[in-house]
Amino acid sequence: MIEAALEIEALKKRYGEIVALDGVDLTVPRGEVIGLLGPNGAGKTTLVSIVCGLRRADAGTVRVCGIDALADPQSARGHIGLAPQELGVYPIDSVHQNLRLFGELCGLRSANLQSQIEAVSAALRLTDLMDRKAGELSGGQKRRLHTAIALLGEPHLILMDEATTGADVETRAALIQVVRDLAGRGSSVLYSTHYLGEVEDLEARVVIIDNGRIIAEGSITNLIAGNGGSIVELVFNGKAPILRGLDVTVDESVVRVRTEDPGREMGAIFAALGDEARHLQSVEIINPSLETVFLELTGRRYEPEENVDVMAS
């Protein structure tokens, strides 16, 4: 049996009183892309950092291609390519010098090193920028170089932590395509992001993490199918009224109505509101998506920037 690229069991991590990871179980099969989705502070960066040995876990196990990454992080790193959250390139070095340095640190030499540099620079459209200093590149070009470094040495497991933060539309599309290509060539990718749309674009298996716990995982289709249909969200001035005869959840001044057909349900909603409709501030129809899945599972809207990332603090 071929072992998974990444197997995590009961992983725990605290920063003082803050629980960053609270018993995470996660498997990334070989050749698969997993979209690790969660708001800032959910525990994504902590998880990635522990897998590549940058942080110590409090408890649990992490195996990378069968290697115990907590006991032997050095061996595990031989299988990992990391693109950290922060753009990490040497601004005083050219694109080629950056790639060469990290290629050499991967253990690549001579012809193999050169062919790897050519391959990743072509994939990330850096070929024409090889002699340009990284400090002189645009934000999107830097992001592409940053990602290219992670691909050197054809690692079995690629960890991309918020890979498209600050990237322009073109760069974002290019990075998504690269991730798809990598999976097509047999690499496994753990793609951490707080952008719902990216995971939908990747058509990847989704793992949703919130407050250090995995709260859902599966294909986007299954997650949406298993977590209700559309939601009509009503926001009121002041406390929300009680709506009888509808499938609703109430959160202070917000009422959410679950429905399969929002257009048809609207009449019933306004009939139930009666005079209370004058306190209505806004109405929003949220179509079935990862947004409604998150809402269904946590009882709150998906706010990517809702917390300060524990790792960044």
Partner: protein, 257 residues
């Protein structure tokens, strides 16, 4: 440990240093200017101490070399802060380079530069300031290497205790001046009060100057500089122990440009 990976990092560090012409001014031109300024004064002081033929270069050259190598000690620490500033530190740690690979890759260039700086300053001292080294060049080299090592490990100890690059600069500069002052590099130790001379013994600079002056003025050989060399190695061991206890690879450091 992989020498190839260390060598890749060494090349990278040397290139970074080469790209910054300001460092050359600091490494060579500043100490040379100071030597020129201080030489006549030191000449009078040495003659008053009984070294009749002394021209002042005997104190000015090793003194200024010793003082400025102390500042060079912070270069190694600075490279760690720079990695944090460029957000490459985690990337480096997540690479296949081991801790020894990274430490050798970062520290070997600074050690080389410190030794090269002292050798160049002594050579320029001979050429420009008529420095005459009466004793053994091998003995002089022992002190140069021992002192460079002590200052490199001192810079790393301060790095391990500093959260920001500003702290590193402040502490190393302060220590550099204090060490040079009480250690007999900035002024001849004999003109200092007795209590300062006693306190000076607790600085590496004192032992470096003791060895340098023995070789330059008294014609000392290898056997004569064993004690100061061992003391300098002892300082290195203490500073390295502090670094080993306090340096945290996962600690976030703040780079202030």
């Amino acid at each position: 440990m992989s020498w190839r990976r260390s060598w890749a990092l060494i090349r990278h560090e040397l290139k970074a240093l080469n790209d910054d012409p300001g460092s050359l001014v600091f490494l060579l031109i500043m100490p040379l200017l100071m030597m020129g300024l201080m030489k006549p004064l030191f000449g009078l002081s040495l003659q008053a101490d009984g070294f009749v033929g002394a021209n002042g270069a005997e104190q000015a050259v090793p003194g200024m070399a010793a003082m400025f190598v102390t500042f060079t000690g912070s270069f190694a620490g600075f490279t760690f802060f720079r990695e944090h500033g460029w957000h490459t530190w985690d990337r480096l740690r997540a690479s296949q380079a081991t801790t020894p690979d990274i430490m050798v890759g970062k520290l070997a260039p600074t050690m080389t530069i410190a030794v090269a700086q002292m050798v160049a300053l002594f050579a320029l001292g001979v050429a420009l300031f008529d420095l005459v080294i009466v004793g053994s060049l091998a003995a002089l080299s022992m002190i140069v290497i021992g002192f460079s090592l002590a200052m490199l490990s001192f810079g790393m100890a301060i790095t391990s205790l500093s959260r920001t690059s500003l702290q590193l600069n402040t502490y190393v500069n302060l220590a550099g001046i204090v060490f040079a002052g009480v250690g007999g590099a900035l002024v001849p130790i004999t003109v200092l009060p007795e209590w300062v001379q006693s306190a000076g013994r607790f600085t590496p600079t004192y032992w470096a100057m003791d060895g340098f002056l023995d070789v330059i003025l008294a014609g000392a050989g290898i056997a004569d500089v064993v004690v100061p060399t061992l003391v300098l190695l002892g300082f290195s061991a203490i500073f390295t122990a502090v670094t080993a206890l306090r340096f945290r690879f996962e600690e976030s450091k703040v780079y202030v440009a």
